[in-house]
């Protein structure tokens, strides 16, 4: 599903250049569920953003579902994100003025699904998350766990092949974290590839494989 070879990425700010990813090689098969761990600043988010085509890389090769991803036009990458990838962020990233249902339905708006139909589908996904009663609430009326479940529903609604989650439980208490992990595991069981960046050992243990990044290099791959 995902194949990367010798990915390098530097951030250039003014005269300084920070070499963050120093030749990452990684292969993730369809239906896998893996976690990425590492110290703060080691480059986990950078890697995930490249995988999600939210950012580009300097050198190397990235194949997503057999498609070579390099310097794509914004139009093409937008299309790929819409079709292939679902994002779950630590800070939820819900649109503040849209209610839960409208937030969930948003990816379908960019697939040109008519409003009524996409709201209906959004309701189904919210129901799967146990949130049908909260459909018409704005994000600031929801708890952290509820917000993250809305975000997961939104990530799923476009029927992606891969879910990329950057510290999805980072802002949640341990009980809620476990619930979110239950959901992500369930999603994985339907065949969707799930990649989770996390700091928490418990969370990593619930994935099938843990990749450890140290200072821009993969230093360890552990099968849990």
């Amino acid at each position: 599903m995902i194949k990367i070879k010798q990915i390098h990425k530097s951030y250039v700010t003014g005269q300084n250049s920070l070499h963050v990813l120093k030749g990452i090689d990684l292969e993730i098969g369809a239906g896998e569920m893996i976690s990425i761990m590492g110290a703060s600043g080691s480059g986990k988010s950078t890697l995930l953003n490249i995988l999600g085509i939210l950012d580009d890389y300097d050198s190397g090769e990235y194949l997503l579902n057999g498609l070579f991803i390099n310097k794509l036009s914004e139009r093409k990458s937008a299309h790929l994100r819409n079709q292939m990838i679902g994002f779950v962020f630590q800070s939820f990233n819900l649109v503040s003025f849209k209610n839960a249902m409208e937030n969930v339905a948003l990816p379908l708006y960019y697939q040109n699904v008519p409003r009524k139909k996409r709201n209906l589908i959004a309701m189904e996904y919210l129901e799967r998350m146990g949130l049908q009663e909260w459909a018409h609430h704005l994000p600031n009326e929801l708890s952290g766990g509820q917000k993250q479940r809305v975000a997961i529903a939104r990530a799923l609604i476009g029927k992606p092949k891969v879910i990329l989650a950057d510290e999805p439980t980072g802002a949640l208490d341990s009980k809620t974290s476990l619930e979110v992990m239950d959901i992500l595991q369930e999603i994985n069981s339907t065949g969707i590839t799930v990649i989770i960046v996390t700091h928490e050992h418990d969370i990593a243990m619930r994935t099938k494989k843990t990749i450890r990044i140290t200072d821009g290099n993969i230093t360890e791959i552990v099968v849990n």
Binding site: Q83, K98, Y110
Partner: protein, 412 residues
Amino acid sequence: MFEIDKWQEIYSTVRKNKLRTFLTGFSVAWGIFMLIILLGSGAGLENGVKEQFKGGATNGVWISSGITSIQYKGLKIGRPIKFTNEDYKSIKTTVSGPDRISARLFLGNNLISYKNEYGSFFLSPCHPDYGFIKEVSMIQGRFLNNIDITEFRKVAVIGEKVKTALFKGTDTVAMGKYIKINGVLFKVVGIFRDFSRNDDEQKRVYIPISTAQRVFQGENVINQISFTTGDASSAEADLMIQKSRALLSKLHTFDVDDNRAVNIWNKNEEVRKFQALFAGIRMFIWIIGIGTIVAGVVGVSNIMMIVVKERTKEIGIRKSLGATPWSIVALIMQEAIIITSFAGYIGLVLGVGLLELISKKVPASEFFRNPEADFSIAVMATVLLVFAGAIAGFFPAMRAAKVKPVEALRDE
């Protein structure tokens, strides 16, 4: 279907960001509103003064006899000048240019009656051309004609108000009836309306000057000579006046520069003065109006920039969900266009509404009447503001759309 959906998306965004919408809209609505009020008040002022010039051709010249104020050829100051029919004939035959010319006699208010009804009305003996010079409009019948003059006919053309004052009850038909002017019977041959707003102008009775001289005066004196200058330019008109003045000064032996010996009122000159004044006022209004519009444009631009900044995170989210750059630009631009058009329309309606209200509730005065805004200018200003809003939104929107999604998402 997709298109309707796009509008719905914009509508829901607008509805849920009321303050933002209000701020964007307000500067546009205010700009248009102020522009309309400005244009309207300017027009009201102009209409008010223009009304003062109604009733009488704008190319009319009135020359009245007066009293000398400059010593000339040993003749002393304070000598009254008396015009006669000869003066009228001289001007008519020797001064080239005037297209309508008439002499007038001032007989003041006279007792005029019909059967038991009577009143005091201004009697104005004149030539047929005076109808054109004064621009009276006939409601019924005709104005005076040349045969009336040559045959000394006892005919009268009466004002609308004279008719209603004398012909009442069961006897409302005035045409062909005989009215008594100072005891002499005159046949009513026409009823007129004067365009002047001055009520007194409707209370006049015109009779042939020849008849008046014979019946009421017994001599050939006249008090005023008036003419219209046709299509002449103002310089040509001034020349006609100059020639008439020179002619009269020779005939009556007074200094050509004696402005009291003859009083000359050149309506065209007065109109020109006001036209110059209003050109000034109009320019002033335009400067303020353009200033208002510029302020509106700057306001809209500022708000659009803030809006885009404020929405950077949302743009990042939308992009991560599959929004293309173009869809982002379209979202922001369409929103800007909808808000500014709608606000412009509201400003338009409020402005025009207020002008209508003023028109209706505030009685027309000498200086203000019927304020009206040039609608096409208001619409153009609205279009300009909408366009400015779109442009103002376009550049920040383009920048936002080009930003990599990671960067937009990082924005806190």
